[in-house]
Amino acid sequence: MYDKGKVITGLVIFVLIVTFPVWYNVRGAQHIPNPKILTKVKHCVKPLDYMRADHMKLLIDWRYEVVREGDRAKVTVDGVQYERSLVNGCMKCHVSEKKFCDQCHEYVDVNPYCWDCHIKPKETE
């Protein structure tokens, strides 16, 4: 091997970069998000699987229909009426932003700009 020092230094840097997640994770404890609903309601507008993957689609469609098209009709699921609204709809049951929304959003670095327009409801407790 020629230029041993330089080649080995380069390879060590390369391996450190590739294994970044391995040694970076050692520094802190991992946690799994635990979103809390805090109310006793057991039903939602859509099934759990849909909500886990696609809730942002639902919210943005509602925004479009309600805000841009002015269609404020409520949505009825299993005989229960829901207002198509973030603060007056979703957050009636999912009351806490910190204990519900942020749990997963912070876990995967998602930063929705809801509060650019909406007024943040006060966190109780």
């Binding site: 390369f14 970076y24 050692v26 991992q30 670095d109």
Partner: protein
């Protein structure tokens, strides 16, 4: 054929991963193959670089891109033809970060006349920059899924990349640029006749593979979303050596991760090794200092000593004089007796 076979290969990989995920082999495709792939990638990469570094570099390779260090009144081009370490570092930096030697590409055309014309050809440079930088941003941003807590640069990248705030989830500019870049690189290979002529399946395969990786990623982000929390649990698990698949993840994810694994396995054995090779290119990383430093060829036979012209002439002077070849130093006087002796005989 050169285009069709690699295309079929990529489709085949997608089908394998889809069938595997449907058959419930999620831990094979989500855990075993990714680990295998990263091991093959690292070991293969290191072996390749070590293998390269065993080739001796007996002399400096001055490139003709710039004026070499010469007389004091001739201006040296310190980046194109450096004679010092700092010049080499500048040249390497520009090469690695801005692909400077691709910027110099030219293209020869024959047009009416017929006349030969050389023009600049910056397609590879421009599309290459688009592709490589957006790929870098995407890989760095993927660290949000592999680390918990996240490093500082993740929110910065998310802000810069998604700053147009189009749609929900917001469109990442790097996603658009990488797909455009790949498409343009592909068009370059099929629409420029000379490039098309020299393109091989090994050129198309990585293009298709990376295009498939980027498009499955975009599909998962914008169109056919799956639960990202389970994905992050798996990814962090892989990085901390406790992988678990906590819930159902869509087959699209297994296709994505299987294609990435294929890319990692393919990497050390393919032209993609230019990632390591760029650091080891002799025309880029050697200072042109042959006039200041003596470089000794490492494979010289130590038993062979230098043979100067003077000593060569000493050895063969008689024969040279006899054959009428001019010599620097004439034969000593006693040698002149020899012809006389011959006459006597």
């Amino acid at each position: 054929m050169k285009i069709l076979y690699p295309f079929i290969a990529v489709i085949g990989l997608i089908v394998i991963a889809f069938l595997g995920a449907e058959a419930g082999l999620s831990s094979l495709f989500g855990i075993v193959i990714p680990y295998l792939a990263i091991i093959i990638f690292l070991v293969g990469f290191i072996r390749k670089v070590v293998d390269w570094s065993k080739s001796p570099v007996p002399f400096r390779i001055p490139t003709t891109c710039g004026q070499a260090n010469s007389l004091p009144w001739i201006k040296q081009n310190k980046i194109e033809c450096p004679s010092t370490m700092s010049g080499v570092l500048k040249r390497m930096f520009l090469e690695i970060f801005l692909f400077r030697s691709l910027f110099r590409n030219t293209q020869a055309d024959i047009y009416d006349g017929p006349k030969l014309r050389y023009g600049s050809s910056k397609y590879l440079w421009l599309f290459g920059l688009m592709f490589h930088y957006s790929f870098l941003v995407i890989i760095l941003r993927h660290m949000r899924l592999f680390t918990d807590p996240m490093p500082f640069f993740i929110p910065i990248l998310r802000f810069g990349d998604g700053f147009l705030q189009i749609g929900t989830p917001p469109i990442m500019m790097s996603d658009v640029v990488i797909l455009t870049g790949l498409l343009l690189l592909f068009c370059r290979r099929i629409f420029l006749p000379k490039v098309r002529f020299i393109s091989l399946p090994a050129d198309y395969f990585p293009l298709f593979l990376i295009f498939a990786i980027a498009s499955t990623g975009c599909l998962m982000r914008y169109f056919m979303r799956t639960d990202v929390i389970y994905i992050k649990e798996l990814a962090v698990g892989l990085a901390t050596f406790h992988p678990t698949i906590a819930g159902h993840i869509s087959p699209l994810f297994y296709i994505h991760i299987f294609l990435v694994s294929s890319l990692l396995i393919y990497f050390p054995f393919s032209k993609l090794m230019h990632m390591g090779g760029i650091f080891m290119s002799p025309t880029r990383n050697l200072a042109n200092n042959s006039r200041m430093v003596r470089h000794i060829n490492p494979w010289n036979d130590p038993n062979l000593t230098p043979h100067s012209y003077a000593s060569y002439e000493d050895e063969f002077r008689e024969f040279m004089v006899e054959a009428g070849i001019p010599v620097d130093k004439e034969l000593p006087p006693k040698a002149e007796e020899t012809p006389a002796a011959e006459e006597k005989a």
